[in-house]
């Protein structure tokens, strides 16, 4: 079995941990747990006749102010950046954040995920797509289990590249 380190990055409270919980445990907890530093989860995924053990590093933040050790980003095979569709401050500087992650991790691509779609209408999401400076790969809801599997499947595929 292949083992791959993958990153899940994004500001506090965007729902990274809920996405992981939904993907790994297939459940959603209403209790909000603020992530401090990093949380590691594992999940074995079968993809293209290959079993991949994902080591998901759920990292809180990227910027210098958030003081995340740079070593967290090293050695990863793929990364997913999560922002909160309902909080503008989590996606306004998205292009800079993505650039920073690419520099820290050495990765060429980062999957962009807008989470908490259950809090917005389709029109509002359409408007956000226009504002966000990069292409959003997935619009997810950990609460309603929407698109979570798809986002992680793409993450797994990218880790095998």
């Amino acid at each position: 079995m292949i083992a791959k380190k993958v990153l899940l990055i994004g500001s506090f409270g965007v729902g990274k941990t809920s996405l992981v919980r939904r993907f790994v445990l297939n459940e959603f907890s209403e209790n909000y747990i603020s992530t401090i530093g990093v949380r590691i989860s594992t999940k074995t995924v079968a993809i293209e006749d290959e079993e991949v053990k994902l080591m998901i590093w759920d990292v809180a933040g990227t910027s210098e102010e958030e003081n995340v050790p740079k070593a967290y980003f090293l050695g990863s095979s793929a990364a997913m950046y999560v922002f909160d569709l309902s909080r503008e401050e989590t996606y306004l500087n998205l292009d800079k954040e993505i650039e920073s992650i690419k520099n820290l991790s050495g990765l060429d691509e980062v999957i962009i995920v807008g989470n908490k779609r259950d809090l917005l209408s389709d029109d509002e999401i359409f408007e956000i797509r226009k504002i966000v400076p990069v292409t959003i790969d997935f619009i997810t809801s950990a609460k309603e289990n929407a698109n979570v599997e798809g986002a992680f499947n793409l993450l797994t595929q990218q880790s095998l590249k």
Partner: protein, 269 residues
């Protein structure tokens, strides 16, 4: 008809007279006899029941009266503590004294044995060659022998587990490897010591040591008293293990092969 000498009329009269005079006595006699016979009857009926009750009491006395007796003993002890202490003290005192004497005897024997061992010619000669190790080290080593509990060979940057040995039963070694790597990175980053690495984490009876090599690091969890001699030996063995892994990179992709190597070098050696 010939007349007899017996005067029948006279005899009947006597009988009638007897009847008249003794009627009361006879009735009393009858009554007494009935009462006597009645008692025998009652005894016959009651005796088995009484016997049964007595047997039951003999067999189940604690159940019937245990609580009441316990309670009354408790009350008695509470109300007469001085008397109880006075009664028990000689017995308890003797027991305590006996126990202490036995333990002191054992300790004396142990001290004598240790002194004899330490000052034997063989030991004196050994001590001449052993360097800085003290007698205290020897005693500690004998009592709390250090044991390698877990070994993890981990990718330095990825935090991925490459190989391991476990004496216990860790549920998710991959997760442990990842978290160890994160803690290591966090500590190194937090204290901002360029080029310095987190080497040891101690918790209760465990010591977790991490040694960095090129692209991998090896974490060992050890229990017991870790002497400098054990540490040196472990360090040598870890270096040997790392050298073998880095010389033959096939170990990095073959977990079973690496696990065997870890066991051969660190555990069985």
């Amino acid at each position: 008809m010939r007349e007899t000498t017996v005067d029948n009329k006279k005899d009947n009269r006597f009988e009638i007279l007897k009847e008249l005079l003794l009627t009361d006595d006879r009735q009393k006699f009858e009554s007494l006899r009935d009462q006597f016979l009645e008692k025998d009857k009652i005894r016959e009926n009651i005796n088995p029941v009484v016997d049964e009750k007595i047997d039951d009491l003999k067999a189940n006395f604690p159940e019937h009266f245990g609580d009441q007796i316990t309670e009354s003993i408790k009350v008695q002890i509470r109300e007469s503590q001085d008397e109880v202490v006075e009664a028990l003290y000689p017995i308890m005192g003797k027991l305590v004294k006996k126990f202490i004497i036995a333990e002191i005897t054992k300790l004396t024997e142990s001290i004598n044995q240790t002194i004899n061992d330490k000052f034997s010619l063989t030991q004196i000669l050994k001590r001449l060659f052993k360097g800085k190790r003290t007698d205290a080290d020897d005693v500690l080593q004998e009592v709390f022998e250090p044991v390698i509990e877990e070994v993890f060979v981990i990718g330095e940057k990825t935090g991925l587990l490459i190989g391991s040995y476990s004496r216990g039963n860790i549920a998710d070694k991959d997760m442990v490897s990842g978290m160890l790597t994160a803690i290591k990175s966090f500590a190194e980053d937090a204290f901002k010591k360029e080029g310095q690495d987190l080497e040891d984490i101690k918790f209760e009876t465990f010591q977790l040591s991490m040694v960095n090599y090129n692209s991998i690091y090896i974490a060992t969890a050890t229990s017991g008293v870790i002497t400098s001699e054990f540490k040196e030996e472990l360090s040598d063995n870890l270096n040997t293990l790392a050298e073998k892994i880095l010389r033959d990179r096939t170990y990095l992709n073959d977990e079973d092969k690496l696990n065997k190597l870890i066991e051969d070098i660190l555990i069985l050696d």
